[in-house]
């Protein structure tokens, strides 16, 4: 049995390569059927905001990658509810909101954790 990995994505979508790289790691893991989870936290929850326009800043759209998570068999997608509330975002349908205690338990559950 492979070790389970939790990727914590905590950078805003257009601030640098971290958001895309975190998604790429998760999708690559999913392609190999690794037990992998994804948690959006801090500014990372901005990746989940609706109606974003990547073209306006000459970048590639991340929403296609987000939609691919399901296709790659990645169902364990979470969002920190504290981070969402701080930023005035409503919990998206694509990620299960977790409070701080639940995030702590989530980290506990995985064999390895990677924060980007």
């Amino acid at each position: 049995m492979s070790k389970s990995l939790l990727v914590i994505s905590r950078q805003a979508p257009w601030s640098g390569p971290s958001a895309r790289e975190a998604l790429d790691i998760v999708l690559a893991g999913g392609a190999f059927d690794l037990p992998i989870g994804l948690l959006f936290m801090d500014d990372g929850v901005f990746q989940l905001a609706p109606g974003q326009d990547a073209k306006a800043v000459q970048q590639k759209d991340l929403s296609a990658n987000l939609q691919a998570l399901g296709l790659f068999g990645i169902d364990d997608v979470f969002a920190c509810s504290h981070s969402l509330a701080e930023r005035g975002l409503t919990p998206p349908a694509s990620a299960q909101p977790l409070d701080s205690a639940a995030v702590s338990q989530l980290i506990e559950r995985y064999d390895q954790v990677m924060t980007l």
Binding site: S83, E108, V113, M114
Partner: protein, 92 residues
Amino acid sequence: MSTLHVVSHSPFTDSRLASCLRVCGAHDAILLCGDGTYGLHNAALQAKGVKVFVLAEDRQARNLPLPEWAGSVDYPGFVQLSIDYDKVNTWL
């Protein structure tokens, strides 16, 4: 399972330490290195009550006093901690 959280950014310019404290479990520990050592005198860190370690050379370089509730480790100590805890979560 226990986690060693490694924080290397100053809590005064960045939210990593605050977020780490929010989700840190009771059996976890926090290792401060680099500018993360400026977090040694963060009241919330002491109040959290988890084990706190600081990389000695980064603390010495900044001449920060070592609080009695924090442990000081050198690089071999850092390696030992990463073995002692089930996993390491580096707040990159």
